[in-house]
Amino acid sequence: MASFDVMPDVQLYQPVELDDALNLADELGDEGWLLGGGQDTYGWLKDRAKQPRAMIDLNGIEALHGISETNDGIEIGAATTLREIIRDERVNRDYSLLVEAAGRVASPQIRNVGTLGGNLSQDTRCWYYRRGLDCYRAGGNICYANGPESMNREHAVIGASRCVAVSPSDTATALVALEATMVARSVKGERTIAAEDFFVGPDTHITQMTSLKAGEILTAVRIPAKWAGKKFYFEKVADRDVWDFALVSIAVAMSMDGDTIGDSRFVCGGVACTPHRLTNVERAVRGKSLSEESAEAVAPMASEGTKPLNYNHFKLPLMENLVRRAMRG
């Protein structure tokens, strides 16, 4: 096997207007590669595991940058870096959940250039897939990670369908918890997608992580005022505290009425191909207070419906424990 390490020939476009980027994306279709911070790009290209014809660098497009207020919350441009988000005063004040999640992404240098859009759209880290194997996700007819001897410690415990890869994004869990809306543009116009529907599983989209179609560009993320300043909890358990992706993570947003919980969103990362909402927990915590007692009562629900693989049943108690910790307040 050839072991590749340098960038192969790829064209590069650096548009400064969104329309130009959209036209390019439309024309290039599947052969185009949208470039944000590039931290989930160059590895694929250097390995020659993905071979797009051209990269469309979105960083020069002013319209994709920045954090602005809207009538209902805030809008973050897709090319805004995680560094900018982490340092933004308003996001810190109202949506610290996102700041915490973004702060646990990879390493400082990666957060310095990594964009929100890129972090949300990044591909799964399944090591078989990353090796460039022709698995289901790569358009093949087999999943190497789901065999009787497969090394699948980091893989899915719920929502798998042939492919057992998991969503690696830390900001995705936070944004699903915050009921964000994704804004996608193409030459045909704009469409908005609820964060929950933005991330797609292998049962419907085995070769994709998001519902973006070829030619579409994620331009912005809108976070509703509904969750501004609410009670949040974020935790990510990974082997190393730098670089590593979540074994299991949790992002929680809770609307408190005095001591009792009203609406809430509990979202686990690292357990399914999409951020995984614990709707049963959300129902169960309504009307409860944050306490050891309610933590014990709802924690076991976290792992309901899971089906672990050979090496990842530890994720079940870990999911339960993270819910337990969120509920202690």
């Binding site: 096997m1 497969s150 050979n310």
Partner: protein, 803 residues
């Protein structure tokens, strides 16, 4: 404490400035005219035979300069690693290389090469090979045993029942490869108050030095110039010459800086010779930049253990007997010896009364293994620490105390041949550590806080730490400078510099007047030891001492010859040699050097001792007539084992809900004789601590047994500890008692610095979990969570190379 002027004092090694400015050159930083770039095609199969190679499309590409295959390089007898092979035995085994005008073209060419291969049976876990019907990693057999009687392949199989029993933690009854013992092990166990058995696994993992083993080579005037990433300088020469098929004097090795080695670059490795062969074939300089993934494949890895141990303790805590059985996962190539070293470490560190060691090195189709920082000693250190804690608990003895009871001291006899030690002060090290760590207070403090629980751990590390018989070579020039020629190599321990100061110390030179010659075999370097095995401190304070003493003898002889009297009438100070009874009558160092040149003969290197190595001889010949030459082989007396020892105390806070732990405090104590270079010692102790933390928690080989694929091929997957995975401050100190067999009292420390760390952590993990012994490294968060929640672990008992 010494009252030396230089030895034992801090200084700035001359190469540090280049490192912080970026001027320090590593192998890949060199460019020469006409140089082309090579890339390797490595085996996609775990075990296979190459049946056809079609490079026609690649060769037709513009910019492709040549192809090198196994047919172009010397054949190597299995299971030794070859430069290139047609019988790959692991995924990543190099099959061919392409050279092109740019790296990108080389890779384009690589993509156009078609290699047909016939897959062969493969295996990734020694027990899967050992079980009847299991695959053999090599067609020749599944065991490669090295012994004094001879080394060779064997095929050893155990019945399913034997494997199952072993997995169940029972004493293995299957055939083994080698054995040694001392004392009466059966009697020891019968006499013991407390006897228990523990199974254990230590998974192997990659060295992953920061600098991949890049090499560049070209031929000029019949010599092959190799820019390599070498852990040793002179020690590389014979092996490199052999790999290139030339005489030692026909090779020039340039290795000024090496981006880490940790045992993986001790001697010349096959791939370092690839550019030389390639350059010869295409008549262009060739640089082979090894990629990170390839560095994983061929950059060596720690030997894995699957073992069983039975320990017998007397009521007072002393170890009466230790019976250990270790299966070594030696990967696809011949290596090993870790297991026997581990047995030796049990004998030495714990002073076991009687011992039996049985070992079985099993080949697997995983990356080649080699020495890695404390090979064997550090695996067993991790295994032993919780066992000592268990015994302490059952015998109601303080964990520090039970270690002191068994601590090696100056009277200990070690190993199967019951050898003496040069000196050993583990007792003192434990006392010092306990005091610095405040053990007495901490052991009584509350442990549990919510989901978090604290654990205390103590670890002990050991590696033999010295070698003898190498050469020293120094020179005083008429400008009054001292030139120390060192072939030690430079991988960042600074021992090349700190040992060079021994010569300056003997000759009363100011450090500013000293120049070190190194990093290029054309710099007239002596035959020096490998910079590994914690040996260079001991070995090269001695070589520089004997060379300096030789120079001093010559200076006195020249002084007597020039100014009258007997040599013994003279002494040195203030860069002068003068009569003891009349300081005014003397000569400057510069003058004496000039006089040495005039006199010639042995004084300026025209003649030299017979017993020095041919490499040293050539260097002396080149230097002859340039100054006063001090050259000698280290024939100083040496007897017994030279132990490098260390202990560590650690406190962790483990979160039982996430399985993660934070290291709250770490204290490492070196017992390496007198301290030669305090800052360098702290570096080794702290760096070793980080290595131990990685081994304890993060690093391991993972292979998919169904298809032989490695999971952890990159830096990210290998789990090298980052800033945030280790404590912000690690505290270290040293016992600092001189070893009588070194002129400056110093012994080495690099490897025990790590062993004590991994051991302290396995001990602390066990302590946090009420004495539970995982018997496994690394302990990852999933294992802790599974244990705490009463779930089975995902892997089979004694399974290895798994998540």
């Amino acid at each position: 404490m010494s009252d030396y002027r230089l030895v034992g004092k801090d200084f700035t090694p001359p190469d540090v400035t280049g490192k912080v400015t970026g001027k320090a050159k590593y192998a890949e930083d060199f460019r020469v005219d006409g140089m082309v770039f090579a890339r390797m095609y490595t085996s996609p199969m775990a075990h296979a035979r190459v049946t056809n190679i079609d490079t026609s499309a690649a060769e037709a590409m513009d910019g492709v300069v040549g192809i090198l295959t196994a047919d172009d390089v010397p054949e190597v007898e299995a299971p030794n690693a070859a430069i290139l092979t047609n019988s790959p035995a692991y995924i990543g085994d190099p099959i061919l290389a392409v050279a092109a005008e740019t790296e990108q073209i080389a890779e384009n060419a690589m993509a156009a090469i078609k290699i047909d291969m016939e897959p062969l049976p493969f295996v990734t876990d020694p027990l899967d090979s050992l079980i009847e019907g299991g695959a053999n990693a090599r067609e020749e057999g599944n065991v490669y045993a090295r012994s004094q009687e001879g080394s060779g392949f064997r095929t050893i199989k155990w019945s399913k029942e034997q494997v199952d029993e072993f997995r169940a933690g029972k004493e293995p009854t299957g055939e083994f490869g080698s054995e040694w013992s001392y004392g009466d092990i059966d009697k020891a166990m019968a006499d013991a108050e407390l006897v228990f058995e523990e199974p254990f696994v230590t998974t192997g993992y990659a060295h992953m030095s920061m600098e991949p083993r890049t090499a560049m080579a070209y031929w000029e005037n019949g010599k092959c110039y190799v820019h390599g990433s070498a852990q040793s300088q002179s020690f590389w020469m014979p092996g490199l010459a052999r790999l290139l098929g030339v005489e030692v004097e026909e090779v020039v090795l340039i290795s000024e800086n090496t981006g880490g080695g940790f045992g993986s670059k001790i001697g010349a490795y096959p791939i370092a010779a690839l550019p030389g062969w390639f350059s010869k074939k295409i008549n262009r300089p060739v640089q082979l930049r090894v990629t990170r993934e390839q560095e994983y494949y061929m950059g060596s890895a720690r030997v894995g253990f699957q073992g069983w141990i039975r320990m017998g303790f007397a009521a007072d805590g002393s170890i009466l007997g230790s019976d250990v059985f270790i299966i070594e996962d030696i990967g696809a190539n011949a290596t090993g010896g870790d297991a026997s070293s581990a047995g030796g470490a049990i004998s030495l560190v714990y002073n076991a009364g009687a011992m039996r060691f049985r070992g079985l090195p099993v080949l697997t189709n995983t990356t080649p293994r080699g020495a890695q920082r404390g090979p064997g000693q550090n695996q067993i250190a991790a295994v032993m620490a919780p066992i000592m804690d268990k015994a302490a608990k059952q015998l109601s003895i303080d964990p520090v105390e039970i270690r002191k009871i068994n601590a090696t001291n100056n009277d200990s006899l070690v190993y199967s041949d019951r050898r003496t030690v040069t000196s050993a002060y583990m007792d003192e090290a434990l006392d010092k550590g306990a005091e610095m760590f405040d053990w007495e207070r901490r052991k009584n403090q509350p442990r549990k806080n919510g989901s978090k629980v604290r654990g205390l751990g103590i670890g002990q590390g050991y590696h033999s730490a010295g070698a003898t018989g190498f050469d020293g070579l120094i020179r005083i020039t008429p400008d009054g400078k001292l030139h120390v020629h060192t072939g030690v190599g430079n991988l960042g321990t600074y021992s090349y510099a700190s040992t060079s100061r021994a010569a300056a110390e003997v000759l009363n030179f100011d450090w500013e007047d000293c120049e070190i010659h190194r990093g290029n075999s054309e710099n007239n370097l002596p035959w020096n030891s490998y910079q590994a095995g914690s040996v260079s401190t001991f070995a090269h304070t001695r070589t520089n001492y004997v060379a300096a003493m030789d120079a001093l003898r010559k200076m006195k002889a020249i002084a007597a010859d020039t100014m009258g009297g007997e040599p013994d009438d003279y002494e040195i100070d203030g860069k002068r040699i003068f009569r003891s009874d009349n300081a005014a009558q003397g000569m400057s160092y510069g003058a004496i050097a000039a006089r040495a040149i005039q006199l010639g003969g042995e004084y300026s290197g025209q003649t030299y001792p017979d017993d020095i190595n041919a490499i040293t001889k050539r260097s002396v010949e080149n230097l002859a007539g340039t100054g006063l030459v001090g050259v000698a082989k280290d024939n100083l007396p040496q007897e017994g084992v030279i132990p490098g020892l260390a202990c560590a105390f650690v406190e962790i806070e483990m979160d039982l809900e996430t399985g993660k732990y934070e290291i709250l405090d770490y204290v490492g104590i070196a017992e390496c004789g007198s301290v030669l270079f305090p800052a360098g010692l702290a570096q080794q102790m702290k760096g070793g601590a980080v290595w131990g933390m990685g081994m304890a928690a993060l690093e391991r080989h993972v292979y998919d047994p169904q298809n032989g694929l490695p999971a952890n091929i990159g830096y990210h997957q290998c789990g090298i500890p980052s800033y945030l995975d280790v404590p912000s401050v690690t505290r270290t100190s040293a016992v600092d008692l001189p070893d009588p067999q070194n002129p400056f009292g110093a012994r080495g420390i690099g490897e025990p610095a790590m062993g004590c760390s991994v051991a302290a952590l396995t001990s602390a993990i066990s302590d946090a979990l009420d004495g539970h012994i995982f018997g496994r490294t690394p302990v990852s968060p999933d294992m802790v969570v599974n244990h705490v929640t009463g779930r089975d672990q995902s892997f089979l008992p004694l399974q290895t190379n798994n998540f």
